[in-house]
């Protein structure tokens, strides 16, 4: 889909195709421009290339995992200010603590939220930015 200048761009990093397409479909309804990445390497190069307004990041990814992606984003000057929401089915307290230490903005466990909840969180983070 072509991006118009008023649209905010959201990068979805998700290796599961169905979850990715459902999320994209729901967010497009909110008039966001959607980009996707399916693994860690892909995510890092896309973030640096397009500098999205927000990143929805899964943790269990092929190759580099979400923690490494987050670390890279936060340690790169041009990308470190981008809001990142971890959106994963991992979610033990240790995972949450680790992500917080790496500077994540929010941590959502997929199974515990609906896509509507996610939209709410995204809107809030983008408005606060």
């Amino acid at each position: 889909m072509e991006k118009d200048s008023s649209q905010k761009t959201i990068l979805i990093v998700e290796d599961d195709e169905f979850l990715r397409s459902l999320t994209a479909k729901r967010l497009e309804k909110e008039n966001y421009h959607i980009e996707v990445a399916v693994d860690g390497e892909n995510a890092i190069s896309t973030v640096e290339g397009i500098k999205p307004d927000l990143i929805l990041l899964d943790l269990l990814l092929p190759g580099k995992d979400g923690f490494e992606v987050l670390k890279k984003i936060r340690s790169t000057e041009v990308t470190k200010g981008i809001p990142v929401i971890i959106f994963s089915n991992l979610g033990q307290k240790e995972d949450i603590e680790k992500a917080k230490a790496l500077g994540v903005d929010d941590f959502l466990i997929k199974a515990n939220f609906t896509l509507d909840d996610v939209v709410g969180k995204i809107k809030k983070l983008i408005a606060d930015k």
């Binding site: 979850l19 999320t23 479909k25 729901r26 089915n89 033990q92 307290k93 466990i109 509507d116």
Partner: protein, 363 residues
């Protein structure tokens, strides 16, 4: 060795000639020799007796004396032999005991080795189980998320219109998925708890901000049921408790989740905290979570903490719940050295209390 010494002494005493007989023979021989000398010298019988009688008397008295000494000697030998025999027997017993001890020690060592091996195997098994539960549950959540989101989007009409009948069925599907997710989340928590994966990390924890942040997490859930969520803050500054903040949060979350879940629309849930240092030898802080909910039936009051228990009235009003929340909470509070208890009136509400020791340095 002791036995051979024993035989040696016995033989020695048997071979020794009785000194009384020995002395008798010497007396007779000397007397005869004396008579022969006197005869050969041609001495008269009067002088003869004068010599002979004292010599014989001397010999006889000496004989008795020697006999007495010899008797004492034999008695001493007998006692010695007896002692040696007893010691030999005792040594034998000691040797036997020593052998038994060695056997037991060896058996003990073998058992210890077996137990160590068995324990290691159990630990491996426990780790494997834990890993299995953790991986499968996380993996299960992924397809369940897909189902849940799909149902939700259908219910929202984002995927096109549905008939009221279809809507109804989709709603049931959505609720069932929610319940399954709740079960998986509880299983993960129990596994987390039982595996003792991370030991408790006790830190000085300030309860006030902890409770505030957890209450904040529950704002949406409470609002959706129009429940008033209140925090009665203590009037004075309270000392920090010794707690693992992650584990303690889990308890607060479980208790608040229950309170909201089992309180009807428009009800009230209140959290308060107090200091019971004045009236207790141990210094504890107490947290109370009270609701205006359905209450716990009196007959079920002693059953609510064991795992998988759910109140008969709870099942009627709420389908998602596994009966693991209070089990987990009790375990965590007890590992903190605190206590958890409740008061309840059916139809009026329940108050859950828990107490946690104050951090040592703050007493």
């Amino acid at each position: 060795m002791e036995a051979s010494r024993h035989i040696h002494i016995a033989e020695l005493s048997r071979r020794t000639v009785n000194p009384l007989i020995f002395w008798g023979i010497i007396t007779v021989v000397l007397t005869v020799v004396l008579i022969l000398i006197i005869n050969a010298a041609g001495i008269q019988s009067g002088i003869y007796l004068l010599f002979l009688v004292p010599v014989i008397a001397y010999l006889v008295i000496m004989g008795f004396f020697v006999g007495y000494v010899s008797k004492l000697n034999r008695e001493r030998n007998r006692l010695l032999a007896e002692q040696v025999r007893e010691e030999g027997a005792r040594a034998g017993e000691f040797k036997k005991l020593n052998q038994e001890l060695e056997t037991y020690a060896k058996q003990l060592f073998d058992k210890d080795f077996e137990l160590t091996l068995a324990n290691k195997r159990l630990q491996n098994l426990e780790q494997a189980k834990s890993k299995f539960v953790s991986v499968t549950t996380h993996q299960l959540r992924t397809p369940l998320s897909a189902v849940k989101w799909t149902f939700h989007m259908l219910l929202q009409g984002s995927l096109g219109p549905t008939t009221p009948d279809q809507h109804n069925f989709i709603e049931k599907g959505y609720e069932s998925t929610q319940r399954m997710i709740a079960i998986i989340n509880d299983l993960l928590n129990v596994d987390y708890m039982e595996a003792d994966r991370s030991d408790y990390n006790f830190l000085p924890v300030d309860l006030l901000p902890l409770i505030e942040s957890i209450l904040f997490e529950f704002t949406n859930q409470a609002e959706s049921k129009k429940i008033t969520l209140k925090f009665d803050k203590p009037s004075s500054v309270l000392p920090p408790v010794a707690a693992d903040p992650i584990k303690l949060s889990m308890v607060l979350e479980n208790l608040l989740d229950n309170a909201i879940k089992y309180t009807p629309q428009g009800g009230q849930v209140t959290v308060s905290m107090s200091d019971d240092r004045m009236n207790s030898a141990r210094s504890n802080l107490e947290v109370v979570i009270s609701d205006s909910g359905i209450g716990i039936p009196p007959a079920e009051r002693d059953k609510i903490f064991p795992r998988f228990f759910r109140g008969s009235n709870a099942i009627k009003v709420q389908t998602d719940g596994t009966g693991l929340g209070l089990f987990i909470s009790q375990d965590i509070i007890e590992k903190h050295g605190g206590a958890i208890w409740f008061e309840s009136a059916v139809g009026k509400g329940t108050q859950f209390h828990f107490s946690i020791p104050v951090h040592r340095l703050s007493k």
